[in-house]
């Protein structure tokens, strides 16, 4: 049990990382390796008049300068968005062309125009600066407001008014009727700030073309190497799947930004074929800001109606979503099926209507970032609930309590069917852990020290393990969202588990092994998790959306089921007993209470020697499975933040943060808590510090760590993380997933705490010191002067 499900086992993968032996993409060096440097647009919107590369071509070390025209001539396809969303009127979304190297027009600062391949990184960089691109600048729309204004510049010719789609979900008439009859309506304008994901490892690619085999190998910082191969093959025509191997070795964080297949990987593969050299590219951080898909960037008007008893009667949400200059791989699904579907929150809401208008702007493409749609939904719902409670003079906790969903399964008005939970139980646990009742005393004590103290709550819910495949297919998804696994028991009894879930910090090598160790009663050290290589693992959908637990592990369990059946048959045959009598523990397969027992390794050996197997049984002990979930899972929780604000400077310190989560069954609480810590820090970052800012001309203003505020150790407190778990009803182990929760529930908790502290509800994220100070002054309630 000490190594099995529920045990806080130390991570198996740590040793290589703490000794500096991790192997990340930029650590790979191929024989005959050359380096790529991209020529990027300095303009947010411009026609490309010409590209003069002769000076660059003549420079030291330069192997080739390649442009979009050559890329197109070679039949490399445009980048695509893989989820088709239709507008209210039934028309398909307006997807503009995105070439890996721009031809004709550039549409954001950083848009790649050409690439230089050279012997060294410095030579490539120097030559890239020497490529002369002449531009004719065009008017720019760098924000949602600018893109949707009358007479706005047209970014893609097939997207009139820059509109990608105008979509809706829910019952508009019923919702308007409910709001019209409501005793109280709370109405708010809410902005969800644009974020840069900032995995600490910058993106990198090393591509090698083997002309003898007509075969490509790509090392890539990918969360999902199989999806990368699929897309590179099926849509971008780089190479057919059997001629392309994608390896995602150790990957230094992803948070969504490494799901997508970017122009750089396509270009490196293509350039390796053109130059017959291995081609490496590693982003500088500045380049990461310019090219990694950003997250969030919504503006929303929301109205929530209540009856005289404080019960929600209707909820109307109108959101405009910024997609940037091109539609990234999953972009279309984020503000629709990952957002609008979560607007019932943890509450029983009889009428909901959501409209989403998605638009192009002259900015970096926007796509899923930790939480993806669900943080935006949680922020809208929980800001509305808190504000409504204050407006109606009710306790915010009690207003939530009065509206919680209490019976399961619960069908929301926005597609989702919640399978399980005890929402009030989590709230109670969080309130107790946070000493909610003692807040007034802490506030008074803080006031004595000249600080404004506030408390804020958020009860988030999210949906993980997007599925089932048939359902998402009917909603427009271009892929299935199952996961695969293969469990190989070796002749000596050691076990290799091949999984399509990629681990880039989540600790799969430990947690997945714990599941198998418990299942077969074998030591953790005898199990190896294999992932991240399309030549080793047959297929997989990768890691995002907190799906590795509920979906990835479920596939492993399913493969283990098949292995177990065979183990029982072999052991029963050898021990001359009934297969159902056998138990697997202590590295043995045995009949309890008897001396009938085989070592686990003896079963493995028997399977492979095949000297004495049951009649008609194939040799070997290896099973694979594909698991397609029957429903999403619904992790939820209650977060409580307490802040103290320095009225002189407006600086906010998060002094206490309590989380009570329901993640269903937990495999490794140490790792799960680590996921929550990281998510909360990202959410606190969104609430207080982080924003990707563009000026009106489309120039990024916060494009480095000099101006984009990453949360540091001093910006967050130690966290209190508790669990009140209910088993997920729809997968074999009852797992709900935990990867995104922290980032989903924390922004509204922090903003609710700040607005409580300063007595001014009008504050947008990030609540920088300057904004909070101004809000204190505007409210006149603070101690703004010292």
């Amino acid at each position: 049990m000490s190594e099995g499900i529920g045990a806080p086992v130390k991570r198996k993968e740590d040793k290589r990382f703490i000794t500096g032996k991790g192997k990340y993409t930029d650590d790979i060096r191929m024989e005959n390796q050359a380096y790529a440097a991209f020529v990027r647009s300095p303009h947010a919107h411009a026609h490309i008049q010409g590209i003069e590369a002769s000076a660059a071509e003549g420079m030291s070390g330069v192997i080739a300068v390649l442009t979009g025209a050559q890329l197109t001539d070679d039949g490399i396809g445009n980048l695509i968005c893989g989820w088709a969303i239709s507008s209210k009127d039934g028309s398909p979304m307006n997807m503009g062309a995105w070439s890996a190297l721009a031809t004709g027009k550039v549409r954001y600062v950083g848009d790649a125009v050409a690439v230089v391949i050279a012997e060294s990184k410095d030579e490539a960089q120097a030559a890239a600066e020497a490529v002369e691109v002449s531009y004719s600048e065009l008017p720019v729309a760098a924000s949602i407001a600018a893109a949707l204004a009358d007479g706005a510049p047209e970014i893609h010719e097939n997207a009139p008014g820059n509109v990608i789609y105008d979509w809706e979900l829910g019952d508009g008439d019923a919702t308007e009727a409910a709001l019209a009859g409501a005793a109280h309506v709370t109405e708010m304008d809410i902005t969800n700030n644009r974020l840069a994901p900032n995995a600490m490892e910058p993106r990198s690619a090393v591509a090698t073309y083997d002309d003898a085999e007509d075969h490509y190998t790509l090392y890539s910082t990918s969360q999902n190497p199989h999806v990368a191969r699929l897309v590179l093959s099926a849509f971008y025509q780089v190479a057919p799947e059997h001629k392309l191997r994608v390896i995602a070795p150790d990957v230094g964080g992803g948070f969504g930004s490494k799901i997508y297949i970017y122009p750089e990987e396509i270009v490196c593969l293509w350039a390796s074929m053109k130059t017959r050299r291995s081609v490496k590219w590693t982003a500088e951080r500045t380049e990461s800001f310019l090219t990694d898909a950003h997250g969030r960037d919504h503006v929303t008007r929301a109205r929530m109606g209540f009856d005289a008893d404080g019960r929600i009667v209707g909820f109307k949400v109108s959101t405009k979503a910024n997609f940037g200059a091109y539609m990234s791989l999953f972009s279309s699904a984020v503000p629709t099926y990952l957002y609008a579907t979560l607007l019932s929150g943890t509450y029983d809401i009889p009428a909901i209507h959501c409209e989403v208008l998605a638009c192009y702007t002259n900015t970096v493409p926007v796509d899923a970032y930790r939480g993806a749609g669900r943080p935006e939904a949680s922020f809208v719902v929980e800001r509305l609930m808190e504000t409504a409670a204050r407006e109606m003079g009710k306790d915010p906790a009690e207003l939530r309590r009065a509206n919680f969903v209490r019976e399961f399964p619960y069908q929301t008005q926005v597609i989702m069917n919640y399978d399980s939970g005890d929402f009030e139980g989590n709230m109670n646990q969080a309130m107790e852990a946070a000493d909610w009742a003692g807040f007034a005393a802490r506030k008074a004590e803080a006031a004595n020290r000249g600080k404004l103290r506030g408390v804020g709550m958020a009860c988030y819910i999210e949906a993980c393990g997007i599925a089932p495949s048939a359902a998402v297919g009917s909603l427009g998804a271009g892929v299935g969202l199952w996961e695969s696994a293969e469990v190989r028991v070796n002749p000596v009894g050691t076990i290799e588990v091949l999984t399509g879930s990629h681990s880039h910090g989540q600790g799969h090598e430990t947690t997945f092994a714990q599941v198998v160790a418990e299942r077969f009663g074998v030591p953790l050290d005898s199990i190896q998790i294999v992932h991240g290589d399309t030549d080793k693992v047959q297929f997989g959908m990768g890691t995002y959306g907190s799906r590795s637990g509920p979906v990835g592990i479920s596939a492993i369990v399913k493969a283990c089921d098949k292995v177990e059946v065979k183990v029982r048959k072999i052991a029963a045959h050898l021990l001359e007993c009934d297969p159902d009598e056998l138990v697997m523990e202590d590295s043995q397969v045995k009949v309890p209470g008897t001396n009938k027992a085989l070592g686990w390794h003896e079963v493995g050996l028997a399977a492979y020697t095949a000297h004495n197997l049951p009649a008609d049984m194939e040799p070997g002990l290896k099973e694979g499975a594909f698991y397609d979930p029957e429903n999403f899972t619904f992790p939820m929780g209650c977060f409580i933040a307490e802040v103290e604000i320095d009225p002189g400077t407006g600086k906010t310190d998060v002094v206490k943060f309590v989380a009570s989560d329901d993640f269903g069954v937990i495999i490794n609480p140490m790792i799960v808590e680590g996921q929550v810590h990281g998510g909360i820090a990202q959410g606190v970052g969104q609430a207080l510090l982080e924003e990707m800012v563009y000026d009106e001309s489309g120039q990024p203003v916060s494009g480095s760590y000099m101006d984009y505020t990453m949360p540091r150790a001093e910006d967050v407190p130690s966290f209190v993380v508790e669990h009140h778990n209910t088993r997920c009803a729809t997968n074999p182990l009852g797992i709900k997933g935990c990867g995104e929760a922290g980032a989903i529930g924390s922004p509204p908790a922090v903003i609710n705490a700040i607005t409580d502290a300063i007595g001014n509800n009008d504050i947008s994220m990030p609540a920088t010191s300057a904004k909070v100070w101004a809000a204190i002054r505007a409210s006149g309630t603070g101690m703004a002067a010292e």
Binding site: K10, T19, G20, D26, D122, M200, D250, G674, M706, A713
Partner: protein, 156 residues
């Protein structure tokens, strides 16, 4: 080009490099010690921290030539047969997730403990958080990094 010689992890190292070569590139590309990372270009993230003559520095913000004759320790050099207490503490406390910032965190952690011990100052949670100003982690929320360094400080 200049021949730059130094002692890295106790072993003499020498390479003929361009003058513009950063210490981190000398370590990663010439010595192929790839545990030292590059995570930003503005000297803030701290994934590149190594010790030069016993002090933590950002190897991305120092020329290799400036380390001529120096004693350099990288993450690969801190274990002495067995894991350094700081390395073990990161494993014990789940102080790492993706592992990319970890070498810099460990090198900064060792440096801060050494400095505080030398000065006879207490390295409490607030001090650890303040001392980590030059190291950014996106995965852990710092909670377990702080715990790891506190544990190692009690063992070093």
């Amino acid at each position: 080009m200049t021949i730059v010689s130094m002692t890295v992890n106790g072993t003499a190292a020498s390479a003929d490099v361009e003058d513009r070569t950063l210490l981190v590139d000398y370590i990663r590309e010439h010595l192929r010690l790839t545990g030292t990372h590059v995570g930003c270009d503005t000297s803030q993230c701290g994934t590149c921290v190594v010790h030069v003559d016993g002090k933590a520095v950002k190897s991305c913000t120092m020329l290799a030539a400036a380390a001529e004759g120096a004693e350099v320790t990288t993450i690969e050099g801190v274990a002495n047969g067995e894991l350094h207490p700081m390395q073990r503490a990161f494993n014990d406390n789940h102080g790492l997730q993706c592992g990319f910032c970890t070498p810099g965190m460990i090198m900064s952690g060792i440096d801060m403990v050494n400095r505080y011990k030398a000065a006879g100052r207490e390295l409490d949670e607030a001090a650890i958080r303040h001392e980590l100003e030059g190291n950014i982690c996106r995965c852990t929320g710092y909670h377990n990094i702080v715990k790891s360094i506190a544990q190692a400080a009690s063992e070093m």
